[in-house]
Amino acid sequence: MEQTWKQAKAAFAAIAVPPIAWLFLFFLVPMAVIWAYSFGENTGPITIDLTGTFANYVRALEPLYLQIFWKSLIVAGITTLLCLIIGFPVALAIAFATPKMKSWLLLLIMLPFWTNLLIRTFALIAVLREQGYVNFALEWLWNNASGFMTLVGLQPLGEYEPLTLLYNNTAVIIGLVYVHLPFMVLPLYSALDRMDRSLMEASLDLGAGHLRTIWSVVVPLAAPGIASGILITFIPALGAYLTPDLLGGTDSQMIANVIERQFKRANDWPFGAALSFLLMYLTFIAIAAQAFIQRKSERRG
């Protein structure tokens, strides 16, 4: 059983003070300062007066910024959906693989996750650009198809036009899916792995097909895992900075890029602080929604 702290005051102090002090000084204080700044005004090049104004938040609700928030939500939503669509079958296959295969597959899924984010994004650039491998492969297919058409006496397809896969919104979504896929696969896998398989067997024995079994037995049983997978993919995707910065074009700015600009180039810290707190509130809303759904499904189950 847990001990009350009064039983061993000295031990408690020795154990509790360092982490709590660190958390307070190097996490809560910086956050509080930013929060205070979000109600401040720039009065000089480096002076900020904490006037308690809401002007920064009002400015964040201007259509320009509202649109960026909206866009970030959409991009993160599409990313999460794609990760779920790709990740679910992968997690299913891993959960039902032989034990040896399972550990190898898990390692293979996790290894890119340990690799540096910047390096992975850079690697993606070389693949996606106009003289990259996706375009080379498509060109090869195109030329072969074209040759085949002449062979059977049809018009050839003409010159291959390389697809613009980089510096646009598609590239941002591809990049985000690439980076966040392991986040989705791992919780899905652990939910599917813990599931009672006899229920699936029962469903198959009673004549339901595989798709029907997956939809009406596996998905409800794995719902908590799916929900947490969605959450831990959505949150970092929403606040993504590097991927839109490196892979996106001029119109694929996400909210994190705007925040960075306020702090580094525009030098409008109060406004940037307000934007970061709005992003943080969005994150908390997502977490609360997930907790709410989880509790509801637990009560039902």
Binding site: I86, V90, L92, F96, T98, I119, I125, P236, G239, E260
Partner: protein
């Protein structure tokens, strides 16, 4: 097709259906649609990284066509003073971040696991915050903190000048360590602790000789996590790094902005190899630990 006809001899006197060849109803890994998806996903995840590594050996300034094998880019990368310095900075920060994070994380885990105290839910909630707060928010908070509240002295000798970045890294890494260690602690049998105390061990001795050995796999996993989180971090470092405290990701970022030569590929390959080796060592240590426990 024709080959199959030639090699597949009619099998006389053997059961027609071999159980091995027909996938069971739940062997999803042996059904082709899922196999295709898994293989395609792995290609999607690995093809870019493998091309990146392959082209670090390419004898051409541009990363487009294969010209021949060379290790020149590695020589160049190792002779690039600022790149090397950034690499060493990254490893140093990750090293110190790991040590501090493991200590703080282990203490936090023991505190939350063992004690009941007023305000526990608040502490527990705040410990989870650095994990969920978007990186960019923590990054700008650290920028403001080290610019206005606690300016890190300029011009300190190496490695003290890396202090601000290390502190920022510890702030988001140690809650991860705490989570991992706490999960491990939940399997601890408290009677062992009581037995140690009954036999006359002091509080400290019990902690060190009974609790810490039990936590060890969690500590190793946590250390590995803290090290990679620190080595991997770009956003928070980007906001806390000064001109003389560049880390590897920040350096690569600025190289990407100016010119992309295979030097970046070479440096990245080195980092990937370092990470893979560290992960392998970590997994090996965990495996041998769990084997010892079983034996």
């Amino acid at each position: 097709m024709a080959d199959e006809g030639l090699t597949a001899l009619p099998q006389v006197g053997r059961p027609k259906r071999e159980p091995r060849d027909k996938p069971g109803p739940l062997e999803y890994m042996r059904q082709w649609p899922l196999r295709v998806i898994v293989v395609a996903t792995l290609v999607f995840l690995y093809a870019p990284l493998i091309t990146l590594m392959a082209f670090s050996f390419n004898d051409s300034r541009r990363n487009i066509v294969w010209q021949g094998f060379t290790t020149d880019w590695y020589v160049k990368a190792f002779n690039n003073e600022s790149l090397l310095q950034a690499f060493i900075n990254s490893l140093t920060i990750a090293f110190f971040c790991t040590i501090i994070s493991v200590i703080l994380g282990a203490l936090a885990a023991v505190m939350l696991w063992r004690f009941r105290f007023p305000g526990k839910t608040v502490v527990e909630g705040s410990m989870a915050l650095p994990i969920v707060v978007p990186e960019i928010c923590l990054g700008v908070a650290m920028l403001v903190f080290f610019a206005r509240v606690m300016p890190w002295p300029m011009g300190l000798p190496w490695p003290l000048n890396l202090g601000a970045i290390t502190i920022a890294h510890v702030s988001f890494a140690f809650p991860f360590v705490a989570t991992v260690v706490r999960a491990r602690l939940s399997s601890f049998n408290r009677e062992l602790e009581e037995a140690a105390k009954d036999l006359g061990a002091s509080e400290w001795r019990t902690f060190w000789d009974v609790l810490v050995p039990h936590m060890q796999p969690g500590l190793i996993a946590g250390a590995l996590l803290a090290f990679t989180l620190s080595l991997d971090d770009f956003v928070i470092t980007f906001f806390t790094a000064g001109p003389d405290t560049i880390t590897f990701p920040v350096k690569v970022y600025s190289m990407l902005r100016f010119s992309v030569t295979p030097e970046v590929n070479a440096a990245s390959t080195v980092l990937i190899v370092v990470t893979v080796i560290l992960t392998a060592i970590g997994l090996q240590m965990q495996n041998s630990q769990s084997k010892e426990k079983k034996a």
